[in-house]
Structure formats: C-alpha cells, structure tokens
Amino acid sequence: MSGQTPDTRVDEARREFLRNAATASVLTLAPGVTLMTAGVSEAQAKVDPGKRWGMLIDTTKCTSGCDKCVAACKAENGWRAEEGSPTDPQWIRKVDVKDPKTGFAMSLPVMCQHCTNPPCVDVCPTGASMQRADGIVLVNRHICIGCRYCMMACPYKARSFAHEEVPENEKVPWAPRGQGCVEACTMCVHRVDAGGIPACAEACDKGAIVFGDLNDSASEISKRLAQFPSYQIRADLGCDPGVRYARLP
C-alpha cells in the first residue's frame, strides 16, 4: 500500500477516532460543575455482556506434583501461602484425587469456578460479592466488610480471607489485596481486560488449561467442549460453573 487513496485516509481517521475514544474526557460546564461524559466510558468498557469467560481443564495433561499454575497465580496476584499456616490464602490449589476402589488417581487445579448462579453473590450483605456481565465472579473489596458469608456459601471452598496485612513491597499494582477482605481467583480480570489469558493458563506448559469464551462456538474451548465429554464439579448443586474439567484424549 503506497500513497494515500481515499480508502486509506478513511481508515486512518477511523483508527484515530478509536484511539481517541479510549482517552477519558471531562467537560467543564462552569466552575465547579463538571460533566463526565458517560459515552466515553462506555466506549472504554472492557466487559462484554455477550461473552461468558470460562476455562476447561484437561485432567489427562495435569500431573501430580506440578504446581506451575499455582506459582504463576501467586506471582501475578501477589499472594503467598506459608507452609502449614492456618490462615493462608489459596486462590488456586492443586488437588490429588484417588478412587480407593480402583486406585485410579488424577490431579487437578481448583479455583473459583465462576458460577453462572454464584451462591457467594446471593449471600453477600453489601453487594461486594459480584458477577460481571461477562461471567467473571469478583469480590469488590472496596465495599467488602469481611463477614465471610461468601466463604461459607461457596461449595468449592474457593475464597480466602486476608488475615494478614499486605506489606508495601508485596503489593501488585494490578491486583490490590487488602487485610480484612475476602479474596479469590479473579480469572486474572486485569489480563483478560487487556486482551490476555489468565496467568495459570499461560503458565501451564502442558496445555492443560484452556481459557476462552463459552458463548462463542468458534472458540477453541467451545470446540473442545462440543467434541469431548466434560464435567462440572458438583454440577448437582446447579451453580453452573464456568470452569469445566475433562479427560481429553
């Protein structure tokens, strides 16, 4: 493409408009009276109600003893678990299960299952436990009072309470943690909003964690789910988790 055809000029203008739309604007009507334009915010919004983020975990690829996903989550979100501490947070944990009758064993990571019908959101007295329009379940720690009802309600034991103060040198800019609040896997919402995939899915070198849009039939996760049988943990509870497990060939 050389030279400015009318077509490329329009294209440039469109790119310029989209780039500018991403910067916020505040209109001053009179001293002390400002109008923060809502339209601009809408253009910036990263939450797409048409999406339903989910994960598929391939338990044939996940191996016992490997905790790369857990380590990646810790590094990304700035939490750590002391060995044997009764108060340590666990945003994601590796679980080894074995059928005592057959001896069949498998290993799998368990984190917030990002339910469609999350019981943690039902019980929250302040509205802090919330579900984004794209299905990601979060704790709005700005309004969390630390009552821990959600921890009791969660059938997956996915949420932790931050007992300890977070030292300044352990704070992470994109994943703030606070003492006295409940916290859990955020499906790396900051990475997803920036166009990435969760840290655990990126860290798994065996490709055991597939992240994607469950509503998009063309996405890799949807294709695999359509092709192979998968299951939700405690599907009988009707929470409809967005995290699914499968023994893929």
């Binding site: 001053t28 001293p31 400002t34």
Partner: protein, 156 residues
C-alpha cells in the same frame, strides 16, 4: 445595661479576632500544601476542583473498574501517583508510610484517613519494580491481538 453591653462588645471583639486570625492564616499558608510539579502538565481538573472533587472522581472510577473493567487513563489512581509521587532523601518515591507522601501532606492536616493505600501500592509502578503487565509471546487472545495491531496501524 452596662455589663450587657460590655459582654456584647467582648463577644464581637472575639469574633473579629477569630475572623482576622483566619484571614491571616490563609495569607500566611498555615495549612501545608503538596508539592505540585507543573512541568508534568496540567492535572485532570483545575486545582480548586481537584481539591473538592478528587475523591468523587476516584470513587466513580473505582466502580467503573469493578463493573466495566475500565482501567488506566487520567482518572486512575496510578495516574495520580505517576505525576504526584514525592521523592525522598534516597531519590526514590516515598510510600504512604512517609509524611511526605502527597496524599498525607493534606490528609494528615485535615485528619482524614485514606484507605486506598491499605490495598493499593502507594509508589509508582516503576519505583516498585513493576514495569508493565507482561504477556508471554503468543498468549494474547486472537481477537484482542488483532484489534491491537489494527489500532497501531498494522494489518487489518
């Protein structure tokens, strides 16, 4: 009658003294002010509005981030830090534990506790050793990397 007049005069006198004192205080800058580096450009709003409204802007943005995923930009807490961070004796930006921190300069005086920094890191990202959000090569979602390259002028 006379004692009453004296009392009124005394009350008026005290009132006048307080008013004068307050004016003198303002003129003499009794209240501490944060150091504003004008070379970094204008703030999000004019100074008098920022003084009154910064908390509302931050609160509004806080909800936008939680519910709509809107991050960064001029109205973010990170942007406040990037411009207003104060360097300590060691040349590095001070954290909230120092009374020199730009938030504390006013908030200590006003006796208003700021909770933001209980969770959020109170020094700019670079000072804390966080360069930027890192993605492993090829781990961007396909539709997102396509949009990114489109905005940056690459292939459609």
């Amino acid at each position: 009658m006379k004692p009453r007049l004296t009392r009124l005069a005394a009350i008026f006198g005290i009132g006048l003294a307080v008013a004068l004192g307050a004016t003198a205080g303002r003129a003499g800058e009794v209240a501490p002010r944060p150091i504003i580096d004008k070379t970094k450009g204008d703030c999000v709003l004019p100074a008098d509005q920022m003084r009154r409204e910064h908390m509302n802007i931050l609160k509004h943005r806080r909800d936008e981030t939680m519910y709509q995923g809107i991050r960064g930009g001029k109205q973010s807490l990170r942007a406040c830090l990037d411009c207003h961070a104060v360097k300590g004796d060691d040349g590095k930006p001070v954290s909230i534990s120092s009374p020199k921190h730009f938030c504390r300069v006013c908030h200590d005086y006003a006796a208003v506790k700021v909770d933001c920094w209980d969770c959020h890191i109170s020094v700019p990202d670079k000072a804390a050793g966080h360069a930027a959000l890192k993605f492993r090569a090829g781990s961007m979602r396909a539709e997102a990397s396509g949009l990114k390259s489109y905005l940056e002028g690459g292939d459609k």
